[in-house]
């Protein structure tokens, strides 16, 4: 075999490996950055706890007073953990959705999962549902989750009846989204003043109603699903080269799509159930990761998880800083801050092209 040298005297394989190494390093840098920002998120807050006080309080909880302990350990840490986890979950779901639908504008919410969850939550709130064995404050997320999953399975049924093309899936998703939104409006129309307020607040997306249990559940779902996502990564990369080619490589594309959608709905459903609709992270996170890492899903998936976590940590910090003394619902912050980020990305892309 001849060795091909580029002008710098470096072989093509060397260059390829150098880029691969650089990307791995980038993922590690992202991980560190996400961790630091999550820490900054814990440190930020209305009560005047110093940075070192908080950091020391995390490492040595005994150094905190009882109130400080509650603030750090029962309020800020679970909220910060939840922010990072929600970001990771939505961003991973987003990157899978974009590949599976072969559409860079997809997000975990493209197919109406969040609208379905909102409908579930609204119904639970307005009808004041209760179920045996489920605590009162769990009924809303539980119902939201059930609706989110049910919508994905409904979608699968419709798509199967129509021959499984991706664009039909997207069209049905949009149709479902409109229907769910209309139903949410209908429920709101009949809601009492008080439950209406609750529904609206739920839909804004907020970290204020979560504790360790919620964060733990989402962490468990993520930990359970991520290995499967990574196991599918090679096939997902190949799917980027077109469905026909993936099939010719022996990839069972239909199965790959189906299980990706199951993972997406579980991740999205769990995240949305606890914190409401958090827009843009699932769209922008994967795009930033793709710009940094490229499209090899073995690295793109972890990178997306990290950019998602990072973005949510930033959003969470902003939600506490933007209006002094008020913690804005984080869903509003991501939606508002997401737009300029998104526009910047598009401009960057079109300039690069």
């Amino acid at each position: 075999m001849t060795i091909t040298l580029s002008h710098e005297g470096e072989t093509v394989v060397d260059r390829h490996r150098r880029i691969a190494t650089r990307r791995t390093v980038l993922v590690i840098v992202l991980a560190i950055a996400a961790l630091l920002l999550a820490l900054a998120d814990v440190v930020t807050g209305p009560s005047d706890l110093g940075v070192w006080q908080v950091v020391r309080g995390i490492v040595l909880p005994d150094t905190l007073s009882r109130i400080e302990h509650v603030i750090v350990w029962d309020v800020r840490l679970p909220a910060a953990a939840m922010a990072a986890l929600v970001g990771a979950a939505l961003s991973v779901a987003g990157v899978e959705m974009q590949t599976v639908l072969d559409n860079p504008l997809s997000s975990p919410f493209t197919l109406g999962v969040s609208s379905a969850a909102a409908l579930g939550a609204a119904i639970a709130i307005v009808l004041n549902l209760s179920a045996p064995g489920i605590g009162a404050n769990w009924i809303v997320p539980a119902n939201a989750f059930v609706f989110a999953l049910a919508s994905v399975f409904l979608l699968q049924l419709l798509a199967r009846a129509a021959g499984n093309a991706t664009h039909t899936l997207i069209l049905f998703g949009i149709a479902l989204q409109f229907s769910f939104n209309a139903l949410v409006a209908l429920v709101q129309f009949y809601a009492s003043q008080q439950s209406l307020q609750q529904v609206v607040f739920w839909m804004m997306g907020s970290l204020q109603r979560v504790g360790w249990t919620e964060a733990g559940i989402l962490a468990a779902v993520l930990a359970l699903l991520l290995p499967f996502t990574l196991a599918a990564a090679r096939h997902m990369t190949l799917l980027r080269l077109g469905e026909e080619r993936a099939l010719s490589f022996g990839v069972d594309v239909r199965r790959l799509r189906f299980f990706a959608l199951v993972r997406i709905s579980l991740l999205t459903g769990t995240a949305v159930a606890f914190v409401g609709t958090i827009g843009f992270v699932g769209l922008v996170g994967p795009h930033i990761a793709r710009l940094l890492i490229g499209e090899d899903h073995r690295l793109l998936v972890p990178a997306s998880a990290l950019t998602g976590a990072l973005l949510m940590a930033v959003a969470s910090i902003l939600s506490k800083l933007l209006v002094p003394g008020v913690a804005l619902p984080i869903g509003i912050v991501t939606a508002i801050a997401g737009v300029p980020v998104f526009v910047a990305l598009i401009l960057h892309r079109s300039r690069a092209a």
Binding site: M1, S6, V12, H16, L241, E244, R245, F249, G294, E295
Partner: protein, 263 residues
């Protein structure tokens, strides 16, 4: 070495058959067969059916087995397929795309990532496009992307290679390279099936030409027998003369649209 035989193949989309009862017998190992025919004749559909991408009835015999009934991972071991349309906006480098393919289905001697990278580079070298290795697919020209897709298929060292219009976007030099690469692969015992619109190219490179029309085989013979002026005239709706030039090559001279097409 084993031959490929297509028997009574019927295939299409959503229960609408596009190719009807197509039989092509004894495609010998080491041969290059050109599949030609007008637009919408069903050439791509036939390749997809052989590759197991669209549902088909009938059978595709190879090596004592029916490829249509093999598990898709096994079929992928034997067969590589380069589709007619290639996606745009893929942010992988050429080398990455080849290695990604090999990480899912590779010839036996490619066991590690290192082997895969080496195999990828040597295929790119054989096609003369090693300078594209680090180029991102979404920044390449249409023809370069076609070369990259071909490299990905060749890297698998398949026993059956299906190419759907691999030269449609290529300049003369690259057409030569691609057909040369297909020919060389055939010489190693591979069965190569190429869809071509350029009949002169088909005549020059193929051992056998299969002419498809409305989903049926209307001619299946060596180029000089399959490609006659009358037949081309009838099937394509043009007036055509086929001549042999001084080098002994078939030359298809198209005079214009046939009377019947001129309304």
């Amino acid at each position: 070495m084993s031959a490929l035989a297509i028997e009574h193949l019927t295939a299409g989309y959503r229960r609408r058959p596009v190719i009807h009862d197509v039989s092509i017998d004894g495609i010998a190992a080491g041969s290059l067969t050109a599949l030609v025919g007008p637009n919408a004749a069903g050439k791509s559909t036939l390749l997809r059916a052989i590759a197991g991408i669209v549902p088909a009835s009938g059978c595709v015999r190879f090596d004592g087995a029916d490829l249509l009934r093999e598990p898709i991972a096994r079929r992928a071991q034997q067969l590589a397929f380069m589709p007619q349309s290639l996606p745009q906006g893929v942010g992988l480098s050429v080398l990455e795309s080849i290695v990604a393919g090999l990480s899912v289905s590779a010839p036996e001697h490619v066991r590690s990532g290192r082997d895969a990278r080496r195999a990828a580079v040597s295929v790119l070298e054989s096609l003369g496009i090693v300078d594209l290795a680090m180029g991102r697919l979404d920044t390449l020209s249409g023809g370069q992307r076609q070369m990259a897709a071909l490299a990905q298929a060749l890297a698998r060292e398949p026993r059956i290679l299906l190419l759907d219009e691999p030269t449609s976007a290529l300049d003369l030099k690259h057409q030569e390279r691609v057909m040369g690469a297909a020919r060389r692969l055939a010489e190693t015992g591979c069965i190569v099936l190429v869809v071509l619109h350029d009949l002169s190219l088909a005549a020059r490179w193929a051992d056998r030409v299969v002419l498809l029309h409305h989903g049926r085989v209307v001619a299946d013979a060596p180029p000089e027998e399959a490609l006659t002026g009358d037949r081309i005239g009838v099937i394509y709706g043009v007036t055509a003369r086929v001549e042999r030039n001084r080098a002994g090559r078939l030359h298809i001279d198209v005079g214009g649209l046939a009377e019947s097409e001129l309304g």
